[in-house]
Symmetry: C2
Subunit: 358 residues, 2 copies
């Protein structure tokens, strides 16, 4: 089992990220040491190391530790760090399988796992298929390891009994949210209900609410305190995803690490797109229906779609919703229920998450 | 949590299967009840119910309970049943993802999960891709649920501490074995080392050794007793897989539930095929290299391949290895280390597993 040698300043997100990354690297080291007769596994641990090294905001680990700090002034115990690292490894799993489903080529500015694993098998006639299949296995390994990380004497049975129900719900919600997203994609309608439901399960609960609750629950949060965190998480998760949708269309690929064409080519059923369709003139509707979700969408066509999304006012309306929801999240947290140190982190995160460019 | 209302006669494999199936159905019921706001999940629980209803030998649950009975005369406690059911749900996960990787259309005489899920979306232009993507998610859910099944007061923390290391090793070995299999497939050589390694990780440890060890460990097995079970498991696992390879080529699809062309079209790198290649004349080698692994292999071509596999003596040699290895397994277990009731089950299983037609 990895020993935690580093004690970060608890309230510094950068230090939280470093601690979680060290814990993950230590865990991958252990996996390699435990399987000397399976050298092939190093291809998979290596891929996960590359994903970690390529960056990522570590939002879920940071919010898990933040959740702890909203409830107590004590230093987080090893259980909190383990759960934080587990959330990041689960996220690696989710990204690997999502990128297969979305047929994405780049992530965090690098080839996605299935592309990198296809390159590893360059020269074989079935390299592309082998890349996808190996990435399915890599995701499976990451999912399993995200739970194996918690099988440690560092976490007491009582702590595990608090943590498992939340992690189990998080997994089911996230996978169901991904399914909703898959079935909605390519079926553009002006109806905003579906995109809001996708956001609820795939982003709000997965990225914000459950991580906060995990840290807070380990700190002994009351029902009232958990409710206060939910009141922050729900609008903020929505604002976070709306920003993501805008970045998917207008983001700078050099900063986001993703192509600015992927969401448009997929026909992602976003609140932005539904809003545009609801406000569009007949001509604009034709443009959206013809081009939004076109798998070979060219750069010039993408620019036409962007013009409609802006011209209908959908972009400005989405920006306004982001501001409103962020303010709603900020207004929901107060010192009645939560400690000042944790609150400061929540406020900082709300601003960063809604104004980000990556 | 599901209460175990049925106490089977402990030494009856059919009763073991029934108890495990009831436990799994009860667990899926709970999952549906817990997520009333996610009715979409019923598509997934329904798929798993269909897979369970379609049959399957429940080898791993039966061997887990058998492992218990080799060590103690007491009735298996709920922890043993839970672990047995967990193994079956893990197996459902493995089959779902394997069938995607192998592009198989049928399993247990029914459409594979990705085919059934594609049919569910008939009429959409992206139905096939949606079927595969939904099946990736279904496998992910089954993997997660196979562990969630163990988060229950029915299993003590001490029992869990015994069980997790074995389940974690089983998962890593199985996924690594699947990767070895993927990379070996389509690369036919006369070298038998690779197929034997695939068998070790993907079959012997996964299907026989680990399930036996899980039940035995929960019963308090000594190191000597675990070694005795390993001495049985290793040759028997090999014999089991060799029989599987023969059934893949000469099995009756009506009995196996699988196409008799899948293994040949895939070019599965089996001990059978490696043996044939090592013994083949130049003309026979040409036939194998031209046809074995041909993705559109016709029935007449398949017959040519079968003629070579038989003509080289590879089929008979494989039959002989099955007999030898089964006898080796039967000779390895004795009443010095293991209880008679469990031993009887081990002997029965060794015969059934090596002479089966399904």
């Amino acid at each position: 089992m990895t020993t935690l040698s580093v004690r970060p300043t608890p309230l510094d997100p950068a230090a939280i990220r470093t601690t979680v990354e060290q814990l993950l690297h230590g865990f991958l080291d252990e996996q390699e040491r435990a399987t000397p007769d399976l050298p092939e596994l190093k291809l998979f641990t290596g891929q996960l190391r590359d994903m970690i090294a390529a960056g990522g905001k570590r939002i879920r680990p940071v919010l898990c530790v933040t959740g702890w700090h909203t409830i107590t002034d004590q230093d987080p115990p090893p259980a909190v760090w383990r759960v934080a690292a587990s959330l990041e490894l689960f996220h690696a799993f989710a990204l690997i399988h999502d990128d297969i489903m979305d047929n994405s080529d780049t992530r965090r500015g690098r080839p996605t796992a299935h592309r990198a694993l296809a390159t590893h098998h360059t020269g074989r006639p079935d390299a592309d298929r082998l890349g996808v299949n190996a990435a399915i296995l890599l995701g499976d390994l990451a999912l399993g390891w995200s739970y194996e990380l918690l099988h440690t004497p560092d976490i007491t049975p009582r702590q595990l009994a608090l943590v498992w129900p939340l992690l189990n719900a998080l997994r089911t919600e996230t996978l169901a949210g991904q399914y909703l997203d898959l079935t909605a994609t390519g079926h553009l309608t002006a109806d905003p209900d579906t995109p809001w439901r996708v956001i609820r399960y795939k982003t709000t609960k997965y990225t914000i609410e459950r991580p906060l609750h995990l840290g807070a629950t380990l700190a002994g949060a009351s029902a009232g305190q958990l409710d206060a965190l939910t009141a922050y998480a729900l609008p903020l998760g929505e604002a976070f995803q709306l920003r993501d949708d805008l970045l998917g269309v207008w983001g700078d690929p050099a900063q986001t690490g993703k192509s600015a064409l992927d969401d448009l080519r997929e026909g992602k059923h976003t609140v932005l797109a539904a809003t545009a369709l609801a406000r569009a003139t007949v001509v604009e509707q034709c443009t959206l229906r013809r081009l939004y979700g076109h798998p070979q969408l060219a750069a010039a066509d993408a620019e036409q779609v962007r013009t409609v999304l802006t011209g209908t006012g959908a972009r400005a309306a989405t920006e306004q919703m982001i501001t409103d929801k962020r303010d709603q999240a900020l207004g929901a947290v107060d010192t009645t229920h939560l400690l000042p140190a944790g609150l400061a982190l929540l406020r900082h995160f709300a601003r960063a998450a809604t104004t980000r460019t990556t």
